[in-house]
Amino acid sequence: MKSYLLPLVLTLFFLLFWEAFCRIEKVPPFLLPTPSRIIGLMIAEAPLLLRHATITFLEIILGIMLSLAVALPLAVAMFYSPTLERALSPLLVASQAIPVFAVAPLLVVWFGYGMGSKIVMAAVIIFFPVTVTLLQGFKSCNPGLRTLFFVMGADFRRTLRLLYWPWALPYFFSGLRVAVSVAAIGAVIGEWVGSMEGLGFLMMQANARLRVDMVFASIVILSCIGLSLWTAVSCIEVFCIRWNKKEE
C-alpha cells in the first residue's frame, strides 16, 4: 500500500499546481480547462461518457481476444516448425515497419464504420509483441528438461501442455501487459478515422467544437481503462504463476 502513497501525493500536487496556474493566469477553458472543471463535466456528462467508454472498452477487449486467437496458434506453429519460423519471422518484423495510422483508413473501408474495424485495428497493433514474446518463451526452455521429456517419449502436444506452455507463461504475460496498454491506441485511432461512437469519436467531436474539457475527460477515462486492464493482467499472472511466488 505504501508504494502507492508517493505517486498519489505527487499527482495531487500536480493537479493543484494545474488548477492554481489556470486560475491565476486566467487561462481560457477552451485552451486548458482546470481539473475541477473536467471532473465537474465528467460527473455531469457521466451517462454520455459511459456509453462511449463501453464501446471503446469492448473494442479493446475483443481486439485483445482476436489477436490472442491468432498469436497463440501462430507462436506454437512457428515453434513446432523451424521452417515456418524462418519463413514467417522476416515478414512479421517487416510488418512492424508499416505505420498503423496508414492502415487505419483501409481497415475502415474493409470492415466498416462500426466496431469491426476498431477491433481489427487493436488486434493488429498488439499481435506482434504477443507472438514474439511467446515464441521467445518457448525457445528459452531449459535443454535438460527437453531431454527429459524426449527420453520419457512425450509427444509434442503433451510436451507443450506440460512443459513449454507453463515455461513460457511469464513471457506470455509480459507480452500481454505491453499489449493491453497499447491496445487502446489501436481502438482510438480506428475511431478517429471513421466512426459514430466511442471515446475517439467523442474526442474528435469535442475538439472540433473547442470543448477541450470533453477531450480531457475522454483521455482520463481512456487512461483508466488502460490502467485497469494492466492491473487485471497482473492479477491473472500472479494467480497463474503462483508456484513462482512460493519460492520465497
Partner: protein, 244 residues
C-alpha cells in the same frame, strides 16, 4: 541385458567417440569414470537418441533397437523438476506424459515417498524444499519410467557431502530393491568405488574404454577400506595421465 556395439561419433571432423563397446548384465551397477570433457555426456546423448551416432549397434535383451528413448529412465546432475508441479506430480511425470495417473500409481508414489523420506512433502513445490529432497524426488521419478534400465548422469555432483552420502544409499536401493540395471557416468572416483559392481575407465578424445575394473559385489562399502584406497590411487593416477 544391454549391448552397445562399437559406437562412433564424429563432430566437426573430430572423432568424439570411437569404437565404444559395452555390455551390461541385468541388475548390475556399472560406472563410467572419465576426465571432464571426455565425451561422457555425448555418449549418453547417443544412447538416448538425443543425438545421432555415425556408427554402432544397440541391443536390448537380444533385440536390436535404435536408441533407448522410452526404454531407459534418466536422472541428471540437476534435479530437472518442473517448478509448477508438486513433488508428487513431478515424480509421476513419466506416467503423466502418457496417460492420467491411476489411483494405484498415486498410492505407489506415496509409498515410494515414504521410503525415500519425502512423505509430508507430496504437495510441496520444488522451490520449497532442499536440494537433497529435490534430488530424491528426481530419483523417485526414475522409478516411474517403469523401465529396468536406468541412466544416471552425474546424479550426485550438485549436492553437498552429507546429502551425497544418503543419496548413495538410495542409489543402491534402486539396484537391490527395484532390481534396476544401472549405468552411471561420473568424474567422482569415490562415488564409483562405493557404488559400482564394475568401473570402466575412459580415455578421452576420442572417448574409448581404457580399463575395466571389476569389484566384488559386497555393498555397502566403507570408503576407508585398504583395497579401495589403493584402487582409488590407481584410478586417479590413470585419470591424471589422461588429462595431461
Amino acid at each position: 541385458m544391454l549391448e552397445v556395439q562399437s559406437f562412433a561419433k564424429v563432430f566437426r571432423n573430430q572423432a568424439v567417440i570411437s569404437d565404444f563397446s559395452l555390455s551390461l548384465p541385468g541388475n548390475s551397477f556399472t560406472v563410467l569414470v572419465g576426465p571432464s570433457g571426455c565425451g561422457k555426456s555425448t555418449l549418453f546423448d547417443l544412447l538416448m537418441g538425443v543425438a545421432s551416432r555415425n556408427k554402432g549397434k544397440l541391443f536390448l535383451d537380444g533385440e536390436e533397437i535404435i536408441d533407448l528413448r522410452t526404454r531407459a529412465a534418466y536422472m541428471a546432475q540437476k534435479d530437472l523438476l518442473l517448478p509448477w508441479l508438486t513433488l508428487l506430480e513431478n515424480a509421476l511425470l513419466p506416467v503423466t506424459v502418457k496417460e492420467k495417473p491411476t489411483p494405484a500409481d498415486l498410492r505407489e508414489a506415496e509409498e515410494l515417498f515414504l521410503l525415500l523420506g519425502l512423505s509430508g512433502f507430496e504437495r510441496h513445490y520444488p522451490g520449497q524444499v532442499s536440494g537433497g529432497m529435490a534430488q530424491r524426488c528426481a530419483l523417485a521419478r526414475t522409478i516411474f519410467f517403469r523401465t529396468p534400465l536406468t541412466l544416471l548422469d552425474e546424479p550426485l555432483s550438485a549436492v553437498d557431502a552429507i546429502t551425497r552420502r544418503s543419496l548413495r544409499d538410495l542409489l543402491l536401493l534402486l539396484q537391490y530393491r527395484f532390481k534396476k540395471t544401472i549405468l552411471m557416468i561420473t568424474h567422482d572416483v569415490e562415488d564409483a568405488l562405493l557404488l559400482a559392481d564394475r568401473i570402466i575407465l575412459l580415455s578421452s578424445s576420442p572417448l574409448s574404454v581404457k580399463e575395466e575394473i571389476p569389484l566384488d559385489s559386497r555393498k555397502p562399502r566403507n570408503e576407508l577400506e585398504r583395497t579401495l584406497l589403493e584402487l582409488k590411487r590407481h584410478i586417479l593416477e590413470s585419470l591424471q595421465g589422461e588429462q595431461s
